[in-house]
C-alpha cells in the first residue's frame, strides 16, 4: 500500500469543489446524473478519509505544502490524527445524510432547486474538509466563510417564510462571527507576522509579554467568533430556528457536523496555535467552561418545553455542543479525548434523530410531539431507531453516548472537578425527561387513539437511520479502537 497518499487531502477538497461546480450544469442538462454525482463524490470522500486514517495510523502524521510552497509563505496542511478523525466523521455522516436526502428532498424542495442543494451540500463538505486539514489561519477563515454561506443556503433553500427568516438570522450572526475570526487572525498576524499555526506556536511565547492587549483581544474575538458559529451559549440564538426550519438532511448535517467543525477549529486554534502558558494567565478556558456548563443546562431545560420535535432536537444540540466545549476547555487528556469522542458520537446520534424525525414528518406530516401517540406501531423500525438514539442521549450503557459521558466524567474528575460530573448527570436526567415521553407515547398506551395516515417509508431513508443506529450500539460496546486513536490524537495536541 505504497500509493502516494500525501496529495489525497487536497484531492478530496478539490474534487468536492469541482463536483459542486459541476452539479448545476449536470442538473440542467442531464438530471439523472445529478444525484449519482453527489453520491459518488461523497463516497470518494468517505473512502479516502478511511484510507487516510489507516495511513496516518500506520505511518504517522504528515505535513503537506500546497503547491510545493513552504510556509511561512505557502499554505500548509497538517494531516495529523485530529484531521483524519474529523475527515472521517464528516465524510461518513455526510454520506449517510445525503443518501437519505435523495428521497426526502424530492418531497420537500421545489424541483428546480434540487441541483443547487447538491452544490451547496458539496461546498459545505469541501469547506469542512478544508477546515479540518488546514494549518493556516487565513486559509481556515476562507473555508469558514464558504461553510457559513453554504450552511445558510441549505436552510433557506426550502423557500418557505420561516426558512428564510431563520437563515437570515443565521447569516447575520454568522457573518458577525466570521468578522470576529478575521479580526482575531489579523491581531495575531499583526504581532507575529505569521498565519501558520505551527509558526504561531513558536513565535507567540516570545511576543506574548510585549503585546498583552492584542493577545487578549484575539482570544476574545476567537471565542465569540467560533462560539457564535458553534452555537455556544449565549451565542446560540440562531440555532433553534435554523435547525428546525431546514429540510431534514440539512438539519442532520447542521446539528451533527457543522457546529462541530467550528468547535474543532476552536480546538485547533486554542490548543495548537496559542501556547499553553497563556491559559494560566488569562482564564479564557475557565470562561468557556462556565459557558459550556450553562449551555448544557440551558439546552436541556428549554428542550423539555418544546412542542415541535425538530425544535426539541435543536435545543438538545445546544446542550450537546456544551459537552464538547466542556471537554475542550478542561484541557486534560481524558477530557479533550471525551470532547472529540462526543463530536463523533453526537454526530451519529443527532443525525439519526433528525433523520428519524424527518421520516416521521415525511410519512405522517406530524411535527408536534403531542400528536405522535402510537407511532411505534405504524413505524416500528423508525421509532425503534429513535429509541436507541434517545437511550444514547440519556447515556444508557451499551450505547456510545454512555462512553462519551464516562470519558468526560473521568476527565473532569482527573482535574479534581466533581461538580462537572454532577452537571453531566443532571443533564442526562433532563435528557431523559424529554426523550422518554416520546418513546413511551410511541409504543405504549395506544388503545383508543385515532388511526394515523402513514405513507410508505422509502427504503434509503430507513436504511440510513438503521445503519446509524447500529453504529451507536457498535461504538457503545466496542469503542476501544476509537478511544485508542483519540488517545494518540490528544497526546499529540497536548
Amino acid at each position: 500500500m505504497n500509493l502516494n497518499y500525501e496529495h489525497l487531502p487536497v484531492i478530496i477538497v478539490a474534487l468536492l469543489l469541482l463536483a459542486a461546480f459541476l452539479e448545476p450544469i449536470v442538473y440542467r442538462h442531464k438530471k439523472s446524473w445529478a444525484a449519482p454525482l453527489v453520491i459518488a463524490s461523497m463516497a470518494f470522500f468517505a473512502l479516502s478519509s478511511l484510507y487516510l486514517m489507516a495511513a496516518v495510523n500506520y505511518h504517522g502524521p504528515f505535513n503537506y505544502y500546497l503547491g510545493g510552497w513552504a510556509p511561512p509563505f505557502g499554505i500548509e496542511l497538517e494531516i495529523d490524527y485530529l484531521a483524519v478523525f474529523l475527515l472521517l466523521t464528516f465524510s461518513v455522516i455526510g454520506l449517510i445524510a445525503i443518501v437519505y436526502g435523495l428521497q426526502d428532498l424530492k418531497h420537500g424542495l421545489k424541483d428546480e432547486v434540487l441541483g443547487w442543494y447538491f452544490t451547496l451540500y458539496l461546498l459545505l463538505m469541501a469547506s469542512m474538509a478544508g477546515i479540518s486539514v488546514t494549518n493556516d489561519l487565513f486559509n481556515m477563515y476562507v473555508f469558514v466563510e464558504i461553510s457559513a454561506i453554504s450552511a445558510c443556503a441549505i436552510i433557506s433553500i426550502k423557500e418557505s417564510r420561516e426558512c428564510i427568516e431563520a437563515s437570515l438570522k443565521y447569516l447575520i450572526l454568522s457573518t458577525l462571527g466570521s468578522g470576529c475570526i478575521l479580526l482575531a487572525t489579523a491581531m495575531l498576524y499583526m504581532i507575529t507576522g505569521h498565519l501558520n499555526i505551527g509558526y504561531l506556536n513558536d513565535v507567540l511565547p516570545r511576543v506574548m509579554s510585549h503585546y498583552p492587549n492584542n493577545i487578549l483581544i484575539s482570544l476574545g474575538f476567537f471565542v465569540v467568533g467560533y462560539g457564535v458559529k458553534a452555537a455556544l451559549f449565549p451565542l446560540h440564538v440562531w440555532l433553534p430556528d435554523a435547525h428546525t426550519a431546514a429540510p431534514s438532511p440539512s438539519s442532520a448535517v447542521l446539528s451533527g457536523l457543522v457546529i462541530k467543525v467550528y468547535a474543532a477549529a476552536f480546538l485547533k486554534v486554542f490548543l495548537k496555535a496559542y501556547p499553553r502558558e497563556i491559559f494560566l494567565e488569562i482564564p479564557v478556558m475557565e470562561i468557556v467552561l462556565f459557558l459550556s456548563v450553562l449551555a448544557i443546562l440551558y439546552g436541556s431545560i428549554v428542550a423539555m418545553v418544546q412542542e415541535d420535535i425538530k425544535k426539541m432536537l435543536a435545543y438538545s444540540s445546544i446542550a450537546q455542543i456544551g459537552y464538547v466545549f466542556l471537554g475542550f476547555s478542561l484541557m486534560g487528556q481524558r477530557a479533550v479525548a471525551g470532547g472529540l469522542l462526543h463530536i463523533f458520537n453526537h454526530a451519529m446520534m443527532k443525525s439519526m434523530l433528525f433523520l428519524a424525525a424527518g421520516i416521521i414528518i415525511y410519512s405522517t406530516g406530524i411535527r408536534r410531539i403531542r400528536d405522535m401517540k402510537g407511532l411505534g406501531v405504524k413505524l416500528p423500525l423508525t421509532m425503534g431507531a429513535f429509541t436507541i438514539g434517545a437511550l444514547s442521549m440519556v447515556g444508557i450503557p451499551g450505547t456510545n453516548g454512555f462512553i462519551s459521558k464516562w470519558q468526560l466524567a473521568l476527565g473532569a474528575l482527573d482535574l479534581g472537578r466533581p461538580i462537572i460530573v454532577v452537571v453531566i448527570l443532571l443533564s442526562s436526567l433532563l435528557n431523559c425527561l424529554y426523550y422518554m415521553p416520546i418513546v413511551i407515547n410511541a409504543f405504549f398506551g395506544v388503545k383508543g387513539e385515532p388511526e394515523l395516515e402513514i405513507g410508505k417509508v422509502p427504503g434509503v431513508m430507513l436504511y440510513s437511520i438503521l445503519f446509524l443506529g447500529f453504529g451507536i450500539i457498535f461504538f457503545g460496546i466496542y469503542p476501544a479502537p476509537l478511544l485508542a486513536f483519540l488517545q494518540k490524537t490528544v497526546t499529540a495536541i497536548l
Partner: protein
C-alpha cells in the same frame, strides 16, 4: 479453567437470545411461546443449580470477557453470594413463569410480556454474575429499563403514570450509580470485585460515592426516601411480574449494597467514618414506615407493596450491623422474603384473577372458595409476621441475634414493633378470608353454594396454584429445619464475606 466458568455466560445469554426467538415464534403459535418461555426458565434454573457443588466447596471464579474502555471491561464472577441470589432468582422466576401461563390468558400483549419476562431474567442474572461494578451497572440498568415494559403492561393511565415514575426514579438511581462508580474508579483505579477493598480511606469524594451508591441501590431496594415509586409500580403490574419485582428485583439493590459494603469499602472505613449511622437511620425509618403505612392501604397489592418496603428495611439493617449473625440473617432474609412475598403476590393475583376483587374489605369468605390460594397466603403471611417455625421467624431471630451481637438491642425492639405491625395488617385479611363473610354470601346475587365443606370450583387453575403452593411450602420447610439449604447458603455466604470475600 473449571467448566463451571461457562455457566454464567450461558444463564445470562441463553434467556437473552431466547427473547427474540420467543417473540418471533409467538406470532406462529401461542402454545409455542408459552412452552418456550417455561422451558427457558426451567433450563436456566437447572443450569444455575449445577453450580451448587462448586460453590459449596468455597471456590470462586473470576475472569474478564473483553475490554470496553481502558482498564474497564466486562468481567464475570462466581462466588457463593452470586450463587445464592442467582439460584433464588431463577427458582422464583421459574415459578412465576409457570403461573403466568394461566394468569395471562385473558390479558393482551402476551407477545410482548413473555419475551420481556425472559429477557429480564437474563439481565437479572447478569447482575449477580458480574465481576465488577461496571458490568453490574450495565445489567442493572438493562434489567430496570426492560422491566418498565412489565410495569406498564396494562397500559391504563394509572399504569403509565406509575411506570413513568418508576422510569424516572430508575434513571435517577442509575445516574447516581454512575457517579459512584466513576468516583470509585477515580479513587481506586479499578472497579473490579476481585481486587479486595477498593477505597480504604474515607474522603469527601469517597463519602459522596458512598451516598450515591446508597441512592442508586437503595432506590432499587425501596429504601426511604427513594421508595416512592414502589407502592405504585408493584400493584399496577400483572401479578406474576409484581411477584418478581417485589421478590427478586428489589434484592438486586440489596445485593449491590452488599457488594459495596464489602468490596468497595470495608467495615473499618464505614464504621470509622460513621456512615453506618446514616444507613441505620434510613433502614429503621424504612422498616417502620413500610409497616405503618401498609396498615392504611385497602388495596391488597398496595398493602403488599408497602410491606415489601418494610421488609427491605430489615435487609438494609442486617447489612449495616456488620456482625456475622447479622449478615446470616440478612442473606437468609433475602431468601425468606423472596419466597414469602412472591407467594403473597401470586396468591393476591389468583384472587384478583378469579374474582376481580382487590379491596381487602371485599375478601371476606374467600378462603372457603379458594382454600389452596388462601392457604399459601396464610403460610406466607404468618411467616412475614414471624411465627415459628416458618422462615420469617428464623430470619428475624437471626437478625435479632446479630443486633445483640453488635450490642444494639434497640434494633430488636424495632424488629418486634414491626412484627406487631405486620400482624396488624395481615391477620385481619386471613381471619376475614376464612371465618368471615357468611352474611355477604347470602347478599350476593351470584350463584354461591353455601356448603359447609371446601369448594374447589372457585379455586384458581392448577398451573397457578401449584407454583404458589410450592413457594408457600418453601416458606414452611425453609424455616422448619434449621439446617436447610437456604440457611446453609446464607451461613456460608456470610462467613465468606466476613473473611474478605475473595
Amino acid at each position: 479453567m473449571y467448566w463451571q466458568a461457562i455457566i454464567p455466560l450461558w444463564v445470562v445469554l441463553f434467556p437473552i437470545f431466547m427473547t427474540p426467538a420467543i417473540f418471533i415464534l409467538s406470532k406462529r403459535s401461542e402454545k409455542l411461546r408459552d412452552g418456550l418461555s417455561v422451558l427457558t426458565a426451567v433450563i436456566t434454573f437447572f443450569s444455575v443449580a449445577s453450580l451448587y457443588p462448586f460453590v459449596m466447596e468455597g471456590k470462586t471464579i473470576e475472569y474478564t470477557l473483553f475490554q470496553i474502555l481502558p482498564e474497564l471491561g466486562v468481567t464475570v464472577r462466581i462466588d457463593i453470594l452470586s450463587f445464592c441470589l442467582a439460584i433464588l432468582s431463577s427458582f422464583v422466576w421459574m415459578m412465576a413463569t409457570i403461573y403466568s401461563l394461566d394468569y395471562m390468558k385473558p390479558e393482551h400483549g402476551k407477545n410482548r410480556y413473555y419475551p420481556v419476562l425472559i429477557f429480564t431474567l437474563g439481565a437479572t442474572l447478569g447482575i449477580f454474575f458480574a465481576g465488577d461494578f461496571f458490568t453490574l451497572y450495565v445489567f442493572f440498568e438493562l434489567m430496570s429499563l426492560v422491566s418498565y415494559v412489565l410495569v406498564i403492561h396494562e397500559e391504563t393511565p394509572t399504569a403509565l403514570k406509575a411506570g413513568y415514575k418508576y422510569l424516572i426514579m430508575t434513571i435517577i438511581g442509575g445516574l447516581a450509580l454512575f457517579f459512584a462508580i466513576i468516583a470509585t474508579f477515580e479513587l481506586a483505579g479499578s472497579v473490579s470485585l476481585s481486587k479486595g477493598v477498593l477505597v480504604s480511606k474515607p474522603s469527601t469524594l469517597a463519602f459522596f460515592a458512598f451516598v450515591c451508591y446508597l441512592i442508586g441501590f437503595g432506590m432499587k431496594a425501596g429504601m426511604f426516601p427513594l421508595h416512592v415509586w414502589l407502592p405504585e409500580a408493584h400493584p399496577v403490574a400483572p401479578s406474576p411480574a409484581s411477584a418478581l419485582l417485589s421478590g427478586i428485583m428489589l434484592k438486586t439493590g440489596a445485593y449491590g449494597m452488599l457488594r459495596v459494603l464489602f468490596y468497595v469499602f470495608n467495615i473499618e472505613v464505614v464504621q470509622s467514618a460513621r456512615w453506618d449511622l446514616l444507613v441505620a437511620v434510613l433502614a429503621v425509618i424504612t422498616i417502620l414506615l413500610g409497616s405503618a403505612v401498609a396498615l392504611t392501604q385497602f388495596d391488597l397489592k398496595r398493602r403488599l407493596a408497602y410491606s415489601s418496603i418494610g421488609q427491605m428495611g430489615y435487609v438494609l439493617l442486617g447489612m449495616i450491623l456488620f456482625t456475622e449473625q447479622g449478615l446470616v440473617g440478612d442473606i437468609f432474609h433475602i431468601f425468606s422474603h423472596a419466597f414469602m412475598k412472591s407467594t403473597l403476590f401470586l396468591a393476591a393475583g389468583a384472587i384478583i384473577w378469579k374474582t376481580g376483587l382487590r379491596n381487602i374489605n371485599d375478601l371476606a369468605g374467600i378462603g372457603r372458595k379458594m382454600p389452596f390460594t388462601m392457604g399459601a397466603f396464610t403460610i406466607a403471611a404468618l411467616a412475614m409476621i414471624g411465627i415459628p417455625p416458618l422462615n420469617g421467624f428464623l430470619s428475624k431471630w437471626t437478625l435479632s441475634l446479630g443486633a445483640l451481637e453488635a450490642g444494639l438491642p434497640i434494633y430488636v425492639v424495632i424488629l418486634l414493633i414491626s412484627s406487631l405491625l405486620n400482624g396488624l395488617y395481615y391477620l385481619p385479611i386471613i381471619i376475614a378470608a376464612f371465618f368471615g363473610g357468611e352474611e355477604q354470601e347470602h347478599a350476593h346475587g351470584e350463584a354461591q353454594h353455601v356448603e359447609a365443606g371446601i369448594n374447589l370450583r372457585g379455586e384458581a387453575t392448577a398451573k397457578m396454584v401449584i407454583p404458589m403452593v410450592i413457594l408457600g411450602l418453601g416458606c414452611f420447610f425453609l424455616g422448619l429445619f434449621p439446617s436447610n439449604i437456604a440457611y446453609e447458603l446464607s451461613l456460608k455466604a456470610a462467613v465468606f464475606l466476613f473473611r474478605g470475600g475473595m
